[in-house]
């Protein structure tokens, strides 16, 4: 499987955009030509931009009646051959979970952009939170894998949305961009390149579309209208898509393969960033907007001679176990600032051999540097 380089349709160079706008541009750059969505604060700007841009590039846009219809239409379009996406926030993300499970089990490439807000429930619609991290992985019933990326800048809303499409196509898996209100509404200057690297789903006539002996565990994906007589179903199925709702071997094999497909390709999928950890006693592990604050704290304290470093998680699922293990070996204690009650801290505890101190905050606001500095002082 190889990628190709394509020209972007947006003029290359510097642009001043919001995170939500940049995500739309990243999607278009990746080749997304179908959007079905529903308005929800604080993500609606992405949909509004896609409505205009898709028309410009000859794509299809539709505002659906609810989030369930939106993600369902995205999956239907994906099987008709489209790179498809929808943007939402917490409440919409919750509604989409059943369909996300469908996409995972049928191995349908699709991208879901979750611009997280303060929850639970309706919460504070215009305020920030990171409360959907666990939901991204475990939101639907059963055992499946997803890929979830965590952008920390408007540039990354562009880059990681583009990456999300590429990963989704390569691994035939629903991929989330776990953004938040802070990043979504932030405006920064970003650089749009002249060309971007784009991956397309594997093609092969005659399938089988749901089974493979290949190394990467990813079967080819024919689409509707090619005469392949596809059998796409959310029931347990064999390699050709025949429903096999009685056979324990088939169920075990399918569940195993869709999970292993992502787990064994973790090295290619996972991205993390290490700032000063080699030379640190304390480590911060953070992601998204909070990682910006964390890096600021690290740089400020280093100037004062404090040996602190940062592990930034650019990928949240599959979880960067190895990077966390390594960090745990380098430092004596780890602090995890996040805008929830310790969702990622809990995962970190599984793999980190040193002490992990969660620093959760759920007040609808971003974590300020002072709060992290306070916590570091206490140690």
């Amino acid at each position: 499987m190889t990628s190709k380089w394509v020209k972007t349709t947006f003029p290359k160079g510097l642009h001043y955009l919001s995170g939500n706008e940049a995500a739309a541009e990243g999607a278009i750059a990746a080749g997304c030509r179908f959007y079905a969505g529903y308005p929800i604060t604080p993500s609606s700007e992405t949909m509004e931009r896609m409505a205009i841009r898709l028309r410009e590039v000859g794509g299809i846009f539709i505002q659906m009646e609810d989030e369930i219809a939106s993600i369902s239409a995205v999956i239907g379009a994906s099987w008709a051959g489209a790179k498809a996406t929808t943007a939402t926030s917490g409440p919409g993300f919750s509604l989409m979970q059943e369909s996300i499970g469908y996409a995972a089990f049928t191995e349908t490439p699709c991208v879901i952009i979750d611009v997280q807000r303060a929850g639970p429930c309706t919460g504070q619609a215009t305020k920030v939170g990171s409360g959907d991290i666990m939901q991204a992985k475990w939101g639907s019933q059963g055992d499946y894998q997803v890929i979830a990326l965590s952008p920390w800048s408007v540039q990354e809303m562009y880059n990681l949305t583009l990456r999300a499409f590429n990963l989704s196509e390569r691994y035939r898996v629903p991929t989330m961009v776990m953004a938040d209100e802070a990043i979504g509404h932030l405006r920064e200057t970003i650089r749009i390149p002249e060309k971007v690297e784009v991956w397309d789903r594997k093609k092969k006539r005659g399938g089988p579309p749901f089974g493979t002996e290949e190394e990467d565990g990813v079967p080819p994906m024919p689409v509707f209208g090619e005469g392949e007589r596809l059998l796409v179903t959310g029931s347990t199925h064999d390699a050709f898509g025949f429903r096999k709702t009685d056979d324990p071997k088939v169920h075990a094999a399918l569940v195993e393969r869709i999970n292993q497909k992502i787990i064994k390709n973790s090295k290619t999928i996972i991205e993390t960033e290490d700032h000063f950890l080699e030379d640190s006693d304390i480590g911060l592990i953070a992601y998204g907007f909070t990682a910006r604050t964390s890096l600021y704290v690290v740089k400020r304290l280093r100037k004062a001679g404090v040996k602190v470093g940062l592990l930034r998680l650019k990928t949240l699922w599959p979880f960067p176990e190895e990077a966390v293990r390594e960090a745990g070996r380098k430092v004596k204690k780890v602090i995890v600032p996040e805008m929830n009650q310790g969702q990622v801290a809990g995962e970190i505890k599984k793999y980190c051999s040193c002490e992990v101190i969660p620093l959760g905050q759920t007040n609808g606001e971003v974590i300020r540097p002072e709060k992290i500095i306070e916590a570091l002082k206490k140690i």
Partner: protein
Amino acid sequence: MVRAMEKYIRPGVKTTPFCPGCGHGILMGLILRAIDELRMDMKKMLFVSGIGCAAWIPSPHFNGDTLHTLHGRALAFATGAKLYNSDLCVMVISGDGDISSIGGNHLIHAARRDIDLKVICANNMIYGMTGGQVASTTPKGSKTTTTAEGNPYRPFDLCKLVEAAGATYVARYAVTQPVALVNSIKKALLHVGFSFIEVLSPCPTQFGRRNRLDRPEEMIQDLIRRCILEEEAKGLTEEELAERIITGEFLTCQK
């Protein structure tokens, strides 16, 4: 089914899963007959279904692209596929509970948008696959596993619902009206816009057995007796009309 229809059945498929006496097998054959009479190319068709017995009509039996989706969501999936690839002739085949209960919201919006989908709603007035619970189409007073005292609520008139929502071809027939039904399906296939055909299909196992129509042939005879055309309805008293089912083509709009 005549041998000529075999080309529309997926190789390897030998039997249907339907109960003895189920109307869905008849409906399956009539859909294929309509496709055959129009000489349609199954390669250009997409069959989308939800969850339930009727959803198993196209999947895996039909020898074309099939999309077996989530309960109630067939119309939303179909909308995505059709909008992205308008060359596909998209037919949605699913049950009454799937399409009008859990799928109700998607039904009225797909009709409102007049998206070119051919919807065959197999109405057996019950949730058959899950064992006989009451549905949005179950007649008032009927006994089901969740309405032992008789269904307290009235059912939808699906055709009126869909017409009000914006569909541009609306019809209702029973599997006991095969000639009219095949012609209606052909019309829907050729219609450009949202077509909806409610097909009354008996479920002796879950509905009939609990409502004094124990044997499949009793349900068939009951349908034959009760299904009338709009013209025939004119001469009847209110009492006579109460237990009749009005069938026919209710709406045909040209674009």
